[in-house]
Amino acid sequence: MKKIKTYEEINQKLKQGKAVVLTAEEVSEMAKTTGPDEIAEKVDVVTTATFGAMCSSGAIINFGHADPPIRMEKIRLNGVPCYEGLAAVDSYIGATACDPENPQYGGAHVILDLLEGKDVIIEAWGKGTDCYPRKYIKTKININTVNEFILFNPRNAYQNYNVAVNTTKRMIHTYMGTLLPNMRNATYSTSGELSPLLNDPEFRTIGIGTRIFLGGAQGFVVWNGTQFNTTRQKNEFGIPVTNAATIAVMGNLKEMSPEYLQAVYYEKYGVSMFVGIGIPIPILDEDMARRVSVRNSQIETSVLDYGTVGTPKLEQVNYEQLQSGFIRVKGQKVRTAPVSSLAKARKIADNLKYMLQNGKFEVTRPVQLFPNNTSLNSLKETEVEND
């Protein structure tokens, strides 16, 4: 295929303020009257975004050494357990971590409290060693006292996601929200045509090293996300029709904003964190132009019954239908509701567009592309012999 622009040329235009930047929604609208060849000529970068609950998120924190020092072998931040197996004063606090006695306050809340500048109580225990004699510490930390405070999310920004319904007679509580009995509602979670990984479904420009908008700051794609699956069934527009690929992302929490990260608690499910992610997609050629032109009516996904074991697929619908407020599932008209914020995703896409247009953000050629032809293992149970 004919190369139209290189990363370098696009970045040069961005620096000079001459680049044409559109959001993915704007380019999808443009594509109704303009072909991919013309879009490839006219448009340099397309911004994509999402703001939804991403449970596989967390923060790396280095607390600094106390005097006398302690090898922290059990750590609690505001009572929330965090990982203790990383040397003396490094830790990782997962967004969904919590003390079972206080399930409504978890790791995501600790991260947000720190981000908002609040003091957080650290309590840590160690066995006491020659070089780390101390056995116990209880003190306060905040965003300024810790050394590193890094967001590291192993699985974010799902490329498409299922629609959830519940065919049973009782109400169920899930990470997809409250599902009313007898399919009285359906919930969906991606931002459709604005969603990052749906605009580059073959990962030609999103890979290891891609610079992204993360929680209000610049962050990076650092790896493919966990449960990265490239072999899901795709429709005629190249879109996987269920949850497929993911990204692992990292960024400096000290530069982020509570405007784009949010701690949440789902009734009878647990704590999670809303993460704001925006990814700029360089329009290198006609193929990329065609990819970002994808419209809600072309993005299909699977309706799954969350009330039944094995979550059987009941229907396939598209995002135009989902965003209309109603879908049809097995002949029944079902009311739809989003569970991620399209309003906030648009704000991120607009912000990113503004930053790109003003030379404050650039596009990055991936250092390495993601693997292809990956699928998922499930956890098989085999007999374990007792000692």
Binding site: Q262, Y265, Y266, K268, S324, V339, S341, L342, K344
Partner: protein
Amino acid sequence: MIKRRYILNFPPESGDKPLSYHLVRDYDIRINILKAEVYPGKRGSLLLELQGKKENIEKGVEYLQKHQVVCESLEKRIHFEEEKCIDCGNCTAVCFAGALTMNRETWKLKFDKSKCVVCELCIPACPLHLFEIDFR
């Protein structure tokens, strides 16, 4: 003719009076009971939709208050921390009354309190816990 929703809280001693009958007969108000919880000897709470002439509804409300019934407009009893809302849409999934909906242009949450039936499903459904309703 206007239509308004009120939350009524009955003290134990008013529980056995046919107050709603008087609203209908004496003040020509159409009443629609949307939710009721009565615990005899303890308390009773009612969500009532009143439809009638404005002055009749005002007089009817006065009549209730005279009989030690706390009667407040539904809107006043619903508390929503709007400024903290992230427009995720979780509450709209459970709101079958249609009070909580998404604006399909801006994708911001719209809350029409006058449509609320106090099912209270939004309270746990909101992942930020921004809703509170004083019904009891």
